[in-house]
């Protein structure tokens, strides 16, 4: 059952990489902030349509949700701003790979302590081995990119 969830999440990553390529093209024409706005606006419109026909949740329950959960919107937008700061200084590849390290390590820490109300998943030896392989892969990509630049 959970293997299906992991495969679907993997496909979510696939769509994200297509998004970076497309948004790269768009930001050449529009500018970075403008591209982010168009991305969020079209995302909102598509999801509004979906909710009108298939929405089963309760959007109004947002009033009952704790404020700290609503602040998550600043994290997505914040991610974008931090990347805009870092890319001109250390380059796209270094920025992306470093962000991935932060993303993966933070994911393990959140799981370990069940932060933000999620289930606790302990950091064990197989997670450690997985992390080492992940870092090796990122290092290889980083080296490969430096070589092609030369």
């Amino acid at each position: 059952m959970s293997i299906i969830t992991v495969i679907i999440t993997f496909l979510g990553g696939v769509t994200l990489s297509a998004q970076s390529s497309i948004n790269g093209k768009l930001s050449n024409k529009l500018g970075t902030l403008e591209t982010a706005l168009v991305t969020f606006l079209t995302g909102t419109l598509f999801m509004a349509l979906w909710l009108i026909f298939f929405g089963k949740g309760n959007l109004l329950a947002i009033a009952q949700a704790p404020t700290w959960q609503l602040l998550a919107v600043f994290l997505g937008v914040g991610y974008m701003f931090l990347t805009i700061l870092a890319v001109p200084k250390i380059g796209v590849t270094a920025t992306n790979l470093t962000a991935i390290v932060g993303q993966v390590v933070a994911g393990f820490i959140i799981d370990q302590f069940g932060l933000f109300g999620g289930e606790i998943v302990h950091f064990d030896s197989s997670r450690f081995i997985g992390l080492v392989f992940m870092l090796l892969a990122l290092f290889l990509i980083f080296k490969d990119n430096n070589e092609t630049l030369k």
Binding site: A18, Q69, T148
Partner: protein, 143 residues
């Protein structure tokens, strides 16, 4: 030394993504998963409208002139976030982030290899294919 700060900035940007997924997973339990995703894009649009109004230096009118497939980024981003909102409460943040990243890295190598979506062609080298193998091993171990 100066560069170190920007590596930290990049590191924090990744941490923000993990936290975002974890929190929206919880919000999804209260208002619904699709609704949680909608909330992010809706309020994000409000924030970015303000930001573009005050700090935008680009040109939004080009939105209507570019090829239509340039405008599909929002739909793809929506799929990414919604998948996380559903998945994270089921399998946890760690494995979700690994799966996302591995999918993202492998696909971007394929996109660049073929020069799809107007990207510059960059062949998959030995190092890159080894990286793909390592990432899949990582995914299997963590799963």
């Amino acid at each position: 030394m100066k560069k170190t700060i920007f590596y930290l900035v990049a590191l924090f940007s990744g941490i923000a993504l993990s936290m975002e997924g974890a929190i929206y997973g919880e919000l999804g339990k209260i208002i619904g998963q699709f609704e949680s995703s909608f909330y992010n894009f809706f309020v994000g649009t409000i924030l970015l409208t303000l930001i573009v109004l005050f700090f935008g230096k680009g040109n939004l009118t080009h939105t209507f002139k570019v090829p239509k497939w340039y405008l599909l980024g929002g739909l793809l981003g929506l799929i990414y976030l919604t998948v996380l909102v559903f998945g994270i409460p089921k399998v946890g943040v760690g494995i979700s982030m690994i799966a996302i990243v591995v999918g993202q890295m492998i696909m971007s190598m394929i996109i660049e290899h073929f020069g799809w979506l107007g990207s510059e062609k960059k062949s998959i080298t030995k190092k890159r294919s080894l990286a793909i193998v390592f990432m899949l091993v990582a995914l299997i171990f963590i799963y």
